[in-house]
């Protein structure tokens, strides 16, 4: 590792810490702007004063705000997100239960996004300023403008309810549970345990949510691919290749796409926030038991600790993924340095 690269990685790492601290602080205080008494909000109307008081003591709500904040930060350092306010389990266990579903959905959606994005993005760049280029560009804007949950509803209605081709909710059919969970991703677990029925069932449940999330994100990805491919196709070596009589397809997909791939993948990695935001809505639409569902469900329960824990977990994931992508990019492209 050269000194330049080492410096870059260290600086990037150090920058992540204050960013996370800012987010954690923001989330902590946002979840405390609730008008009125949080204890009353959790226990609802009709709770007696003793109940309220014991709840406050148990959850630390009786402490002054800055003490709560410091305790909360201390807990975070040990990856302790506290205890759920409505269920007697540590928040981290709740996250562990729900997170794999989100990962599975996100990975599957990514596959859809990259396939659609690269196919159409490269095609549009190759046929620049032709009708197909404009068609693809406008479609990608419209695709991105579709509310993700509405696309999900439409697919549920047409593919699921009307024709009955695919299941419209959940991760597995009722009664079908994996014998053992290794990764928590049912499709991978099914392959590992060689359970063919489980695999088919898991994939069938995964298709609609993944297509929904993947297609909307593809709207952005088509644009990224197109812009980067345009830059590459203008390069001299492409012209040189063309002059040497290379076939156009080889030129575009082999020589062109390979060189555009690095920035494209980086930019995609930086869309992880968008992916997770989309996952919240997709999970709500398809009753997919992921982290987004956890957040939305716990809002109705007014379970502030779980809410706080899962939102901060989201922030952690976003920060880690973009850190990883940036460092990886630093390895791959020596021009990127602070």
């Amino acid at each position: 590792m050269s000194t330049g690269l080492r410096r870059y990685v260290v600086v990037r790492l150090l920058l992540t810490i204050p960013m996370l601290l800012i987010l954690v602080t923001l989330v902590f205080f946002v979840l405390r702007i609730i008008p009125g008494d949080p204890a009353l909000a959790v226990l609802r109307e009709g709770a007696s004063e003793e109940q309220l008081q014991s709840f406050r003591v148990a959850t630390g709500l009786d402490q002054p705000l800055h003490v709560q904040y410091l305790e909360f930060l201390g807990g975070l350092l040990r990856l302790d997100f506290g205890e759920s306010m409505t269920r007697n389990v540590p928040v981290i266990d709740e996250i562990k239960t729900f997170f794999p579903a989100t990962v599975e959905l996100a990975l599957a959606a990514m596959m859809v996004t990259t396939t659609v994005g690269i196919l159409f993005g490269v095609y549009a760049a190759h046929h620049r300023k032709k009708a197909s280029d404009y068609g693809i560009r406008i479609s990608s804007i419209i695709l991105y403008s579709i509310p993700i949950f509405w696309l999900g509803l439409m697919l549920q209605m047409i593919v699921g309810a009307k024709f009955g081709w695919l299941p419209v909710s959940g991760r597995l059919s009722a009664g079908n549970t994996p014998e053992e969970t290794i990764t928590g991703l049912y499709t991978i677990d099914a392959i590992l345990t060689l359970n063919w029925d489980l695999f088919v069932d898991a994939v069938r449940h995964l298709i609609l949510p993944a297509v929904t999330l993947g297609l909307v994100l593809a709207g952005i990805f088509i644009r990224l691919t197109r812009a980067n491919m345009l830059g590459v196709l203008e390069q001299d070596y492409i012209t040189a290749g063309r002059a040497r009589g290379l076939r156009e397809r080889v030129l575009v997909y082999k020589h062109g796409l390979r060189n555009a791939a690095i920035p494209i993948v980086t930019l995609l990695g930086l869309q992880v926030a968008l992916l997770l935001a989309g996952a919240i809505l997709t999970e709500t639409t398809f009753s997919w038991p992921g982290l987004g569902r956890l957040v939305v469900d716990r809002i109705y329960d007014r379970d502030f600790t779980t809410l706080q824990g899962s939102i901060i977990f989201f922030a952690l994931i976003v920060a880690l993924v973009s850190l990883l992508v940036d460092v990886l990019y630093g390895f791959l492209d020596p021009r990127i340095r602070y």
Partner: protein, 399 residues
């Protein structure tokens, strides 16, 4: 000046240079000539603008355009689009009333879920309610009632299977172009009033975020130093975070109201305006003309407000338009999750949320129309922003 022009070979023949944009033509003519200068981008912009104007008009004219009150339970629940009109059917030759008579006071059968219930109530007739379509028809067949009210679209089928029936009157009641929802509210009216809601929330929140983000970006970039570093870090942190999640947390804590949702969304988008403004100021600051102004002794405030700020505007306009598109989607997402506006305000996202429960029953019209409109409006603002960015800053976006 002539000496300098000779110094640059590109300017050697200034007479051959024809300006791309003729400054002496009027605004309207310039507008229509746009397509020659900008090509397809012009069409994209105009299309986006067209949608924008249409939505704005709908917003302003909502009370005139909407046929009904969006919140009143006006028709039968789940009337499909185009339905709602009723026909009076009787046994052939036994009808107590003629085609132009009032049906007041007759014994008449209506099914529970047809508009008949509403209409007989308004017409003040003695009526008999039946839960099933078949029961109603049977009641007419065996003489229990003299007339029945049915949906006009069912008449043909009904007459085919019951040749002894005849149509006495047609076209009673109201037609619901987009159908009615689970409570019998007119969806068309809800869609029209909903435009006002979503546009209001999106535009006002974008205004809020720009009013905070732009000045912050200007000062941050202009002053620089620690303030700039700290602010940039904070804004970048918020920017990198899933915006919807932040809006969800804020909206959940603040509670459902128009103001709260607007605040929640505007907080999310402050960093967008901050980043664009800051980036623009940093690059404009390096321009030669700013340097020139500085060396001529222009005050710092004059440089910021007279030389830099006006050149930030084009980028901000583009971002503003794209931001409204995003805000529309976020607002709809919040409503869909159930954290949006109070239920008495017609809102497309809320209607989608409600329609979700009735999807399996096949009531497609409850979710189809609000979704199409959200897409159309968001796409309109995106296309407008996209086109404007090509026209205002030709070098900002490649392609």
């Amino acid at each position: 000046m002539s000496t300098t022009s000779e110094a640059y070979p590109g300017d050697a023949n200034p007479t051959e240079y024809t300006p791309l944009i003729d400054q002496n033509i009027g605004i309207m003519r310039r507008f229509f000539r746009g397509r020659k200068w900008y090509g397809t981008e012009w069409y994209i912009t105009v299309f986006g603008g067209f949608i924008l104007v249409a939505v704005l008009l709908t917003t302003v004219l909502a009370p005139v355009l909407a046929p009904h009150d969006p919140n009143s339970f006006i028709g039968a629940p789940f009337t499909p689009p185009g339905g709602g009109l009723l026909a009076v059917i009787a046994r052939q030759g036994e009808s107590p009333i003629g085609p132009s008579d009032s049906i007041d006071g007759q014994s008449i059968g209506t099914t529970r879920n047809s508009n008949g219930a509403t209409w007989t109530k308004e017409l003040g007739i003695g009526r008999q309610r039946y839960n099933e379509e078949e029961e109603t028809i049977a009641a007419l067949q065996n003489g229990e009632v003299d007339l029945i009210l049915v949906e006009e679209r069912q008449v043909e089928e009904l007459l085919a299977s019951n040749p002894d029936f005849e149509v006495i009157q047609e076209g009673l009641g109201r037609r619901y172009i987009a159908g009615t929802d689970n409570l019998g509210r007119d969806i068309e009216s809800r869609l029209i009033w909903g435009a006002r809601t979503i546009l209001g929330v999106a535009v006002i929140s974008a205004l809020f975020s720009s009013l905070i983000g732009i000045p912050l970006g200007l000062t941050s970039a202009f002053i620089g130093g620690k303030l700039d570093k700290g602010l940039s870090l904070a804004m970048d942190s918020i920017y990198s975070f899933p915006g919807l999640l932040l809006a969800v947390a804020l909206a959940a804590m603040l509670g459902p109201s128009v103001v709260n949702v607007t605040i929640a969304i505007s907080v999310v988008y402050i960093p967008t305006f901050y980043r664009v403004t800051r980036g623009q100021v940093l690059s404009i600051r390096e321009n030669m003309y700013v340097e020139a102004a500085r060396s001529l002794g222009a005050k710092r405030s004059a440089i910021l407000f007279r030389y830099i700020s006006p050149n930030v505007i084009p980028s901000v306009v583009v971002v503003f338009s794209l931001n409204i598109a995003d805000a529309i989607l976020t607002a709809a997402g919040l409503s869909f999750i159930g954290l949006g506006l109070p239920p008495d305000i017609p809102d497309w996202g809320y209607d989608l949320n409600k329609g979700h429960s009735f999807l399996v029953a096949g009531h497609w019209w409850m979710i189809t129309f609000p979704g199409i409109l959200i897409t159309l409006v968001a796409a309109g603002f995106s296309l407008l922003g996209e086109g404007l960015s090509e026209i205002l800053n030709p070098r900002l976006v490649k392609g």
